[in-house]
């Protein structure tokens, strides 16, 4: 009986820790730590679009619903107490809305997870998706995708005292990544044992307490976590995959493609893209890359 009581007490304490850990570690790495200013997006007054196009409809309605991730610090992240999500995807979403004449406060941000991005676009629950949405041929069969507005590569995050120098050193070892993500697939393809987790914050916990030797996803996200746990974690190795992150739209609205490309190209050219990168993904030792080349729209 006494043993049982201690066990119960231990269980209670453990659960408390687990819960507090969920709250604590989900925090977002500092964005704009270098004093980078939040980019201000131009809101076009009464933009002109050809009648009957999706852009004209949205501009007329004065509001737009955009699907973003809520759990990827630096790209699309919404903390428990935040009113608005933040991150690079979110900034570009505001830019696109601005080009439609829609102010940031009139955007409805809907959380899209990896599994529901296509259904949401097909059902019209969201007008656009900017949710670390890699462009692939399979996806292009059922939804429209254009871009890329960001090219990222996958790296490895390990404890600071680890000897691992890259994914090559992790053959047959567990590497954590989000369940169902492309990152997890790539880890498996490299010969490591995939360890799926609910989200990346859970992966960071596992790396910190030694349950898994490493985790892997886009280098930009890993840098955020390494900065958050200064001196405990480090990002190592070369990028071993290339993800082309693009904007998703409904296949029934092919005219959106030209509009999105024009808006992205304009932000590449006038430097606001770089500002947004600096503000969300920038930080010490992070250089703003050159904007990627956009795909052509298929007629």
């Amino acid at each position: 009986m006494r043993l049982k009581r201690t066990k119960a007490a231990a269980a209670a304490v453990g659960l408390g820790l687990a819960l507090s850990a969920c709250g604590g570690s989900a925090g977002e790495p500092e964005t704009g730590a270098e004093g980078a200013e939040a980019p201000e997006w131009e809101v076009v007054e009464s933009p002109e679009f050809e009648a009957g196009t999706a852009m004209a409809e949205l501009a007329e309605a004065g509001e737009v619903t955009i699907g973003v991730k809520f759990d990827q610090p630096g790209l699309g992240f919404k903390g428990a107490t935040d009113d608005m999500p933040s991150g690079f995807d979110v900034e570009l979403a505001k830019m696109l809305a601005g080009q439609l004449g829609i102010a940031a406060e009139d955007i409805t941000f809907e959380e899209t997870i990896s599994d529901n991005r296509e259904p949401y676009l097909q059902q019209g629950r969201v007008d656009l998706v900017l949710a670390t949405y890699s462009i692939t041929d399979e996806r292009r069969q059922i939804v429209g995708q254009t871009g890329p507005y960001l090219i990222t590569g996958q790296q490895v995050l390990v404890p600071a005292d680890s000897d691992v120098e890259g994914i090559e050193d992790l053959q047959g070892e567990e590497v954590c990544a989000a369940a169902g993500s492309t990152s997890l697939e790539n880890v498996e393809a490299e010969g490591a044992v995939p360890a799926p987790a609910d989200n990346y914050a859970a992966c960071v916990d596992d790396v910190l307490n030694g349950t898994v030797p490493a985790m892997s996803t886009d280098g930009a996200i890993l840098l955020g976590y390494a900065a958050e746990q200064e001196g405990e974690l480090k990002v190592v190795g070369d990028e071993f995959s290339e993800e082309r992150i693009g904007v998703g739209y409904s296949k029934e609205r092919p005219e959106m493609c030209e509009f999105i490309n024009d808006a992205l190209q304009a932000s590449f050219d006038d430097g606001t893209w770089a500002e947004a990168y600096e503000y969300t993904l920038g930080g010490e030792g992070v250089e703003v890359p050159d904007p990627p080349a956009l795909d052509d729209c298929q007629a």
């Binding site: 009986m1 043993l3 049982k4 119960a8 231990a10 269980a11 304490v13 453990g14 659960l15 820790l17 687990a18 850990a21 990896s114 599994d115 991005r117 296509e118 692939t136 399979e138 996806r139 069969q141 059922i142 047959g172 567990e174 954590c176 369940a179 169902g180 993500s181 492309t182 997890l184 697939e185 498996e188 044992v193 995939p194 360890a195 799926p196 987790a197 609910d198 859970a202 916990d205 596992d206 307490n209 030694g210 349950t211 898994v212």
Partner: protein, 227 residues
């Protein structure tokens, strides 16, 4: 559906993990559950209460919370399974797998205990009294007389408990092992055009697995009908 057929090796590995989870947790939970049931009907009041407390605590806790306790909270307080490190062919039995198996077994044992207790209650009291009358100690009464009859009576609820366990293994897919559910999610992420086909393939696979368990239970029931 093509993606499933093209990746049968990955499917096989995922199926292996699901079956390993099921088989190991089934054996452990049946063992632990039987001990608990014996404690609950036994003569020692401390053990009786301890077993009752165990059932109350574990049965009233969601499975995910139990698994998270061993998987996430455990390592934080130094309770880890890093001594487990086996390679069975292409299946790796590691600390994560061990933590999840322990969680599944502990959770399921509470239900096994109650299913078995219902079987024990179905054995007429006279059986236990007669066994005691011929001088058997409590262990003998249980193993020689009561449990053989109780197990026969509790096959149907026990089968339900084990079928639930088989389906509960899918929770592990989000906690660090690529079993069938995690594999399904990676397939649907890779190829959203085939989402419906992928769902049907995996659902059908689980139906087949459950049918096999039901079939075995059915056979046992028929074989043991005449006690």
């Amino acid at each position: 559906m093509d993606i499933v057929l093209d990746n049968l090796d990955l499917m096989g590995r995922a199926l292996g993990y699901t079956l390993l989870f099921f088989v190991i947790a089934a054996v452990l939970s049946l063992t632990l559950g039987t001990v608990l049931a014996a404690m609950r009907v036994g003569p020692v009041s401390v053990l009786r209460r301890a077993a009752a407390a165990y059932v109350t605590l574990v049965r009233n806790t969601p499975l995910l919370v139990v698994l998270l306790f061993f998987r996430v909270a455990g390592p934080k307080v130094g309770l880890n399974f890093s001594f487990v490190d086996l390679q069975l062919g292409q299946w790796r039995i590691n600390n994560i797998f061990a933590a999840l198996v322990v969680g599944l077994s502990i959770y399921t044992a509470a239900f096994v205990c109650e299913a078995l207790r219902s079987g024990i209650n179905a054995v007429p009291l006279g059986q236990a009294e007669a066994a005691r009358a011929i001088g058997l100690p409590f262990g003998g009464v249980m193993t020689q007389v009561v449990l053989p009859q109780a197990i026969r009576a509790s096959v149907p609820p026990m089968a339900s408990v084990q079928i639930a366990l088989l389906k509960n293994t899918t929770v592990c897919g989000a906690l660090g092992v690529v079993e069938l559910f995690a594999r399904m999610r990676s397939f649907t992420n890779n190829d959203p055009t085939q989402r419906v086909g992928i769902f049907i393939a995996f659902a059908a696979l689980f139906v087949v697995l459950v049918l096999i368990v039901s079939f075995v239970a059915n056979r046992l029931e028929r074989r043991w009908r005449i006690a």
